[in-house]
Subunit: 453 residues, 2 copies
């Protein structure tokens, strides 16, 4: 039996296993889910042993554990591929907007609905199944190392030191990651650019306690009003970020890149109506596709102050806070941007309140080589699996480990994604298309095969 | 035994009864406390019967019930006084900042700590005890009607229709209310001005679901950023409210009033350090005392959007909302201001998002007559009880019923308060000074006595 037949034959079992994997609520940011995150790591360890990996470890960190496995029997003349993924997931709120409970995977319309379905458990699992198929029917044509972390959604805080301390062990020719979307349904793509992230928190302190807005209102600066004033000054009316020096290190999109962007199939009207917004809005001078992947951004991710329940409470709140994050593009540096953000917020804050700015986490942007053996094998595998040449694209999100692999392991990363843009990663009703799960297993098998040729 | 001795003799029991009254969590805005609000009304009904009121009713409304009682045996040549108060209280959050549970009244440092202690249960109760003392030792020197509602903290939504439907029954010469503070410890005051209120909610809708800030960030207007932009435009840098026409109907403080304000003892430095703010800030051209009672305001009472838990969630939120209220001064009209606010918010909202503005509730401001029998009796009673002439002041908060009494019952309202400014009404650790409770009972007894002379 060849591996393709094996994948077909065992598809039903794979779905049951995927369901089990998605059922574990491995929310890395929530302290109350720490045990679940560990359970999920242990589940992977057991699973990798079962399919034939001998060296499999759950590596302890000060946070959530890292899963490491290797199967290096292809011989020294064969390349080594490091597969990277993450088994942790985003929080689920607003929970009331989910059609099914987020950790009770539900299959409908050819999709699996669950937190982590597309980001990133579903995509991790299709690689594992591709390896299982190869191991069960032939041999692994390359040396394979597997690294699956449990802290990607909270900034991979313990991964860098792990990679630094294990750089010989992790040595490889190519890294492969599946945590990016296809360009569109049936349209494979290879991503060569990822945005970085600089995630900040602003805390404004007004009076030392909540006050009666009638007795005190008018005499002091309201911290919630002040917070709004600060945030309103972070961007101008042209969609440009107003922080001094913010754009200093941005490599502008080249004429060639902009021409490629222009060729990509994109329906702005459908994009707009899919989001149900009155109009799109982005930085002046750039297209929507450029806005969502080639240019930096600034977005409020959360706001909180005072009374937010039903009804009216006449309170002048003591505090107000915001989570504000910026997506960065090459060659912006997250620490530099955090410092500029902090300085600017302090410079525009009214002197009648106290402001504290906290750098929650960050990641530098990545621009990946478009040539080389890994990109070539991935391009061929995608073409065979989907019957279409892949597009070369940039992605708006961040996969901070890519820069770590580049810096520490000196290995290029192939970003071969099988998700879809509208699969609600980070939102209620996250899902993953089962066709892409199936084709993805085949494409991954082909990728490892072509890498070994 | 005269009523003063009676008050002294039974003081211990009064404290036990007050504790019982304060223990009932009559939070009117919280649907889960509806039964507690009713229980509190029933408690008052039973208590008023016990001290000698014969006509006592719990009047049903579509919301929380109204307590009504009367004792009109002083004769037709004696004036009729209507005592008004409220038995409902504000919500308790942030609950974690309370030293003792808010509905387990605790006595320390000569104060009682509980939600409602000063606003308004403690002050209601001292009137009831004054009446008890008069009834037990002599006669009620005036005809007394009692009206205690359970919806003051949610805008007295069912009171107006009740008063309209019962205006003959409620007919009176003077209304007396104790829901305002003393000018300062040991410094009695009579309040002749109250601010009105216009409490609005702004709902901004961006995309139809929460989005991944990496995949979509940059291409659409973020509703939280848009909300901040809207709020930042509601006031200018001089502390003036920027809504067109907002000040049109404001009666500016007269030269005489400003001269009286200037004479009031006030320590701005102590006020500032008591709130622990870097500096005070208010409308240019006015003093702090004028800011907190004589001029209109605009304050954010609550902000909410996106992810507000611990850690970082890279979400581009679908919605953002704010509660914004304005304190009004004579002769601003709450409906007129609500309309101007709504129009202005729509006019400044970015066209790339949807905005909904809701008028939650409102009350018109009040300016009360400084002369007349009621004011005279109250002035004399306060002078006797505290040994000091009362100041005439304005108060920053709202007691919307005063205007209803003026309009429907054509009766002036005497605002004789016994609270203190820093007793944390609407905040954690609300409390009421027991000295003022004790002196207040005496002052109230004197007030009813002088009214009958």
């Amino acid at each position: 039996m060849n591996y393709t037949d094996y994948l077909d034959l065992h598809h039903g079992r794979f779905i049951l296993e995927l369901t089990e994997f998605l059922s574990i609520p491995s929310v890395s940011t929530a302290p109350e889910h720490a045990a679940d995150v560990r359970k999920c790591g242990e589940w992977l360890v057991n699973h990798l042993r079962k399919i034939g990996f001998e060296t499999v470890e759950l590596h302890e960190t000060p946070g959530h554990p890292i899963v490491y496995a290797e199967h290096c029997h292809a011989g020294p003349d064969k390349p080594t591929v490091l597969f990277y993924g993450h088994y942790d997931v985003q929080p689920v709120d607003p929970i009331e907007l989910w059609t099914n409970p987020p950790f009770e995977p539900t299959y409908r319309d050819g999709k699996v609905f669950a937190r982590g379905a597309t980001d990133d458990k579903g995509q991790v699992f299709l690689h594992i199944k591709a390896m299982e198929a190869l191991l069960a029917t032939t041999v692994l044509p390359v040396n394979v190392k597997i690294l699956i972390e449990g802290e990607e959604e909270i900034g991979s805080i313990n991964l860098t030191s792990y990679i630094e301390q294990n750089k010989e062990r992790l040595a490889c020719d190519t890294v492969v990651v599946s945590d990016t979307p296809l360009y569109g349904p049936g349209l494979p793509s290879l991503c060569y650019g990822l945005r970085g992230l600089c995630y900040m928190e602003i805390h404004v302190q007004g009076p030392n306690r909540d006050l009666h807005s009638g007795s005190y209102g008018g005499s002091i600066t309201n911290p919630a009003n002040a917070l709004c004033e600060i945030i309103s000054k972070l961007k101008d009316s042209h969609g440009r970020i107003a922080i001094p020096g913010f754009y200093d290190d941005v490599i502008d999109l080249s004429v060639e890149e902009r021409a490629e962007y222009a060729k990509l199939p994109f329906d702005a009207e459908a994009f707009k109506s899919g989001l149900d917004v009155p109009s799109l809005f982005g930085e002046e001078g750039y297209t929507t596709l450029e806005h969502i992947s080639g240019r930096p951004t600034l977005d409020v991710n959360g706001l909180h102050s005072g009374f937010t329940g039903i009804g009216a409470k006449t309170v002048l709140p003591a505090k107000a806070s915001a989570k504000v994050s910026m997506r960065l593009v090459a060659n912006q540096d997250t620490e530099d941007i955090a410092a500029k953000f902090t300085d600017f917020v302090h410079s525009i804050a009214p002197p009648s309140i106290k402001v504290d700015v906290v750098n929650l986490h960050g990641a530098n942007p990545v621009l990946v080589e478009r040539t080389g053996k890994g990109m070539h094998a991935a391009s061929k595998a995608l073409k065979d699996a989907y019957g279409k040449e892949p597009y070369f694209t940039r992605e708006g999100g961040s996969i901070p480990v890519c820069i770590i692999f580049d810096t520490i392991l000196k290995a290029p990363t192939v970003l071969m994604g099988f998700g879809l843009q509208d699969e609600n990663a980070h939102s209620p009703d996250e899902h993953f298309d089962l066709d892409n799960f199936t084709i993805g297993m085949k494409a991954a098998s082909l990728f490892y095969t072509y890498m070994g040729e």
